[in-house]
Amino acid sequence: MNQTLSVLDPTSEDRSPEIQLSERIKSIEGSIIGLLDISKPRGDVFLNQLEKRLTEHGATVLRFMKPTFTKPAPVDLRYEISSKCDAVIEALAD
């Protein structure tokens, strides 16, 4: 008779809670859009350009910066962005 093999699960077995996505913005015009610089060289070049384009389309732009690109953004910063902005764009760079 063939025998089944039983092994132990090596994973964390955590199930990610389902996260409700925030409502998407309907238009850029009139929205408050956060731009998050992760502190990589020349991230500002990219974000300055984005700010210019977004402002031309009628958005209000707020700028944020992570203390270092090597670590996740501090929780206070994440809260500040979520409470002040309708949308956020995070820029990688180099």
């Binding site: 025998q3 090596p10 964390s12 955590d14 270092t68 090597t70 996740p72």
Partner: protein, 481 residues
């Protein structure tokens, strides 16, 4: 026909546990048949229900239930029970003792006076874990995953995403149980919170992944110490994992445990071929991936990566110099793991220097190109110095700190040569830093380790990653058994 030994409770009278392959049981088999036939004893046979004969007083204990529950350690064992309580137990053959217990004289006069018994199957090392699970119940928290009989278990584990690309050892309950015997810690103790998913990781989960990596149980405390080292704010494993730079955690084991585990600190020390070196680092990487969720191409964004990310762990070789851990405030007698974020190793060749001054200059030249000739202060490095290179310094009476001091002096960089645009290269430090002498490494940023084979005038450099609070600092942890 033999009756199955369903009940393991002891009944009044004398019970004898035997095994057909035990020479002492074979020696006494005629006597046992006589005693059984005359109603003096009941027999519990561990492997063959027709041994010493087929009879209703011979009970089949091939499930080892009776033996397990009555703590039988050897065969033959005689147990005398009065009013439901065990009053005496004998092990092996000893005529006088048997005569006294059985209250019968002149037992088997043709046999030798005494003969020791054999180990019971219920304590045989290859059965005991399986029996413990069977009789003491399931002790694991982790989910059991059944692999169908027609499935190839190696493929099934790979398909579930549990491997690092190489085959993994199936983590069966008995293997994991044996692995857990390698530590005194409880299996439900939390070792660390594993990034990037910040998952709590129990000793049991570490043990499962250590089995898969091919570790022996005695390596488990080292794997645990490695995880304790990297899952700290200082080491910043999340960043090390997520960075596009091609670095990973590298572990150096210092102290007497390295030799006890048979770790390699000699020939091919940074290569393959030694079980402990190869599997300890691999177990850590499997935990990061399976428990922490840090899979290559997922949160692991390395542009290139390096082969050491399969697992990179080696032992420091003893030397007259203080070891790496002593540099971090531990003693040479303490067993420690130092975790360092690094790229793959690259050799530095110098086959002609005979004086320590010349060799130091030569090594300094090589070290200037660590990561990039334009990079100063921001990244650490590990210098693995080989025995033949080390002997240049030992012979001249140089200490480790003296060597590092000389090296540091030689590693002052003229900032004008590395500012943006210098030499027609756009990369570099901001031009405002021009006109300075800058150290290549921050103080303490060059980690010197002695290891390698006895012949060969080579050392190795392992470049690091961003250091300090904006990156990763080396972390040393003591290995606790």
């Amino acid at each position: 026909m033999a009756k199955h030994a369903d009940g393991y409770e002891l009944n009044d009278g004398i019970s004898v546990v035997v095994n057909s392959e035990c020479p002492t049981c074979q020696l006494t088999s005629d006597l046992l048949v006589e005693l059984g036939t005359n109603g003096h004893v009941k027999i519990f046979s561990q492997d063959d229900p027709s041994f010493p004969t087929s009879a209703e007083w011979v009970h089949d204990d091939s499930e080892l239930s009776f033996s397990w529950h009555n703590d039988i350690e050897a065969v033959p064992t005689l147990i005398r029970v009065v009013n439901g309580k065990e009053v005496e137990r004998l092990v092996g053959w000893n005529r006088k003792e048997w005569e006294r217990l059985l209250e019968i004289e002149n037992l088997a006069p043709g046999l030798v006076d005494h003969k020791p018994g054999c180990g019971s199957l219920s304590v045989s090392p290859d059965r005991v874990d399986e029996l413990e699970i069977k009789f003491e119940g399931r002790t694991f928290i982790s989910r059991q995953v059944e692999i169908a009989s027609l499935e190839d278990e190696m493929e099934a584990m790979h398909d579930r995403g549990w491997s690092d690309g190489m085959p993994v050892v199936p983590p069966t309950e008995s293997r994991v149980k044996r692995m857990l015997a390698g530590t005194s810690r409880n299996s439900d103790d939390i070792v660390a919170i594993i990034p990037p998913n910040l998952a709590e990781c129990s000793v049991e989960k570490v043990a499962i992944n250590a089995v898969m990596a091919g570790c022996l149980p005695e390596y488990l405390p080292v794997v645990i110490a490695c995880l304790e080292a990297i899952c700290t704010d200082e080491f910043n494993m999340h960043g090390v994992l997520a960075t596009t730079m091609s670095v990973g955690p590298i572990f150096v084991v210092s102290g007497p445990i390295a030799e006890r585990l048979g770790m390699n600190s000699g020939i091919n020390v940074l290569g393959h071929g030694n079980r402990a070196n190869s599997t300890i680092g691999r177990a850590v990487q499997l935990v990061l991936k399976n428990v922490g969720g840090g899979a290559p191409g997922g949160i692991d964004r390395a542009t290139l990566g390096h082969m050491g990310k399969q697992g990179f762990c080696f032992a420091e070789a003893p030397s007259p110099w203080e070891n790496l851990a002593e540099g971090f405030g531990f003693s040479s007698e303490q067993n420690t793991v130092t975790a360092f974020t690094g790229e793959g190793p690259r050799i530095l060749v110098d086959q002609k220097s005979r004086s320590p001054e010349s060799l130091t200059r030569s090594l300094a030249d090589g070290l200037k190109s660590t990561i990039s000739t334009r990079m100063v202060l921001g990244m650490d490095a590990m210098l693995v110095i080989s025995p033949e290179h080390l002997s240049r310094f030992i012979d001249a009476g140089w200490s480790r700190s003296q060597f590092i001091e000389k090296l540091t002096e030689l590693l002052m960089i003229d900032s004008d040569e590395i500012i943006e645009g210098a030499g027609g290269i756009e990369d570099g430090i901001p031009s405002t830093f021009g006109g300075n002498q800058l150290p290549k490494f921050r103080p303490g940023g060059l980690l010197v380790v002695h290891a390698g084979g006895p012949a060969g005038l080579f050392s190795a450099i392992i470049g690091g990653w961003l250091n300090g609070t904006k990156g990763s600092d080396p972390v040393t942890k003591e290995i606790t058994l």
